[in-house]
Amino acid sequence: MKKLKKEHLRILFGGLTESHRVIGPKIEGGVVVLAEIAVHDIPAGFEDRQMAGSYRLVTGERPEIFSFSAGPDSFKRFLHPPVSEMFAFKSSRTAIAITAPDCQGKPLAFIGVRACDIAALKLYDKVFLGGAEKDQCYESRRKDSLVIALDCSYPGDNCFCHAMGTGPSVMDGFDIALVELDASFLLEAGTIAGQRLLDVLSLEEVTEGDMKERSSRTERCLGMMKKSIRTEDLPGLIYRSLDHPRWMDIAERDLECGNCTQVCPTCFCHSHYDFVRLAGISPRAREVSGTRVRKWDSCFSRNFARVHGGNFRPSRRARYRQWMSHKLAYTFEQFGLPGCVGCGRCITWCPAGIDITREVEALRDVR
């Protein structure tokens, strides 16, 4: 582990921008989002006030550069874009031509990835690369990407990563890990690619005082975390509660907007559609051309589980249950990883303020 003076962060950025698109936090529309940024875009000094169903950005007193917590965006917007082309087609009655898109762009470097999102990234890798079939576009984007992780100095008001065992400190799954101290950053390389980036920086040795400061910061962050989930036998609780009356209660508050699935860093569900070009359609020869695209979908949408002649989840109650059960129970069986990483985004961005931690507590109540 080495130390970098805060003002030298731009040198790290400079090294990155040559070869990568640097994706990091930036203010847009009063919200910290992820976008391609330069070092001065980082909204240093801003603080976010989050509540169930509320997010406000204020200028605060915190001295850190990364003084804010995670906004609605996560890496998934870039590695698994909301809309992406699968292939272009041109077909007639007797021939079909399919051309695969080029998903090789400038490689991505994610800066300031929190521990919760690293846990989510691990799940994503299992979904898209862990099976017999791999998602080739995800693979090419992921393989060249750099993850520059960051220990949280402050938790968001809806965070509960300590309960899910994912944060607030980054343990693994990074190329470079950053820890922000008062005057400097601690840096640790996790991969050879990360080490290469560190080699060109003028780094200092870490002192015992720095390590002390680091652990006291982690302690402080943990102490500030307001929310929690009791995780003992969580999947078991969900499997036992599939007929719990609480689901009906949630369904009455739920608006089915799907915000939670859009902001959740582990939600990966999507649908495929044909986008047909109007030009050159000839019904008789069945000539048609267009693109097949993949779009984020949400298990809250009414047609998500629809098949011809029926819908497997017609009720809102069942759709909410599907989402929460998937997060808290099913992913353990499917991928051996938690589907909820404790980032609290679904709580903040739910217009009805439904709080997953409180709903789990309600499920624990003996009927």
């Binding site: 699968m86 292939f87 087609f89 077909s91 007639s92 009655r93 007797t94 021939a95 079909i96 399919i98 695969a100 979904v127 898209f128 099976g131 017999a132 079939e133 998602d135 080739q136 599939l242 007929d243 990966f268 569900c269 999507h270 649908s271 495929h272 559609y273 044909d274 047909v276 069945r286 048609v288 267009g290 979908d297 298990c299 998500f304 589980a305 629809r306 098949v307 011809h308 002649g309 497997f312 989840r313 017609p314 009720s315 109650r317 069942a318 599907q322 059960s325 998937h326 129970a329 099913y330 069986e333 499917q334």
Partner: protein, 281 residues
């Protein structure tokens, strides 16, 4: 191998109308290399793609030993309607095969009971044809019994009606309909397919059961057979869900924690019995 997320082109060899709303189409994979690499098991499915309209998951209704690769489709939505308008020589897209098929290796030295409801006969026809073909190759074990129970809505809705005489060579075949039209001659049973369990005698300790049909029919059949002493590990069901990607990424086919597209569609009853009773899972 080839990429299963991108369709390859397949030519329609012939189509055949089965009933008023079902038809069978035989496809031939165009690309030589894919054609050689393409291997499927009875019970697996393909995604059939009509460019500009969309994809539908369709079970393969022929045996791997058949010359033609067949799909039997019920006209239900946009894609299946488009498929029903295909003529010989037309080109469509196809991806697959996907999922886990019927455990035919377990049927080697057990009696086989096939229970089908409605179009659920399609993936089981693949088994029946496979048994017919392999039976011809090996000497029949006189003690091995094969039974086929099939329920349809009305006599007119019996799919593959012309094929049952051939299956009778090897299978004990029993047909039933929910409602027999009095105008039409019908000498089979009337009532649910589970009623046919009373018509057959079988040894529950050495019978392997494959069930495919509407979920409630499979659930009732499974429970009924367990009551009759069939171990729940020997009962297999083929589940239906909204299959979209076929490779366990899109999330549409979740049945509790199961990806029906890759963990299924064929499940051991003991794997999913606990999930089956829960509404809207």
């Amino acid at each position: 191998m080839y990429d299963k997320s991108v369709p390859f082109d397949a030519k329609v060899k012939w189509t055949k109308k089965e009933t008023r709303d079902t038809f069978t189409c035989a496809l031939k994979i165009n690309n030589r290399d894919i054609q050689k690499a393409y291997r499927f098991l009875p019970g697996q499915f393909n995604m059939l793609y009509v460019p500009g309209i969309g994809e539908a998951p369709i079970s393969i209704s022929s045996s791997p030993l058949d010359h033609d690769l067949m799909h039997t489709v019920r006209v239900a939505g946009d894609v299946t309607t488009a498929l029903s308008n295909l003529r010989a020589g037309d080109m469509i897209g196809m991806r697959g095969p996907f999922g886990r098929g019927w455990p035919l290796e377990e049927a080697e030295d057990l009696d086989l009971l096939i229970v089908a409801g409605g179009l659920g006969i399609a993936p089981l026809r693949s088994v029946a044809r496979h048994v017919l073909k392999t039976h011809a190759a090996k000497k029949r074990d006189a003690h091995q019994r094969r039974m086929l129970l099939y329920g349809a809505k009305t006599p007119k809705d019996i799919v593959f009606r012309d094929e049952f005489p051939r299956y009778r060579d090897i299978f004990e075949v029993f047909l039933t309909v929910d409602r027999a039209d009095p105008e039409e001659y019908w000498r089979g049973e009337a009532g649910l397919v589970t009623k046919l369990f009373d018509r057959i005698t079988f040894d529950p300790r050495c019978t392997l059961v494959f069930v495919c049909g509407p979920e409630i029919m499979m659930q009732n059949s499974g429970r009924e057979l367990i009551l009759r002493g069939v171990p729940e590990e020997r009962i297999f069901l083929s589940m239906e869900r909204n299959m979209n990607c076929g490779i366990g990424m899109c999330g549409h086919c979740f049945f509790g924690p199961k990806f029906v597209c890759k963990d299924g569609p064929v499940f051991r009853f003991s794997e999913i019995e606990g999930l089956m009773g829960i509404k809207e899972l």
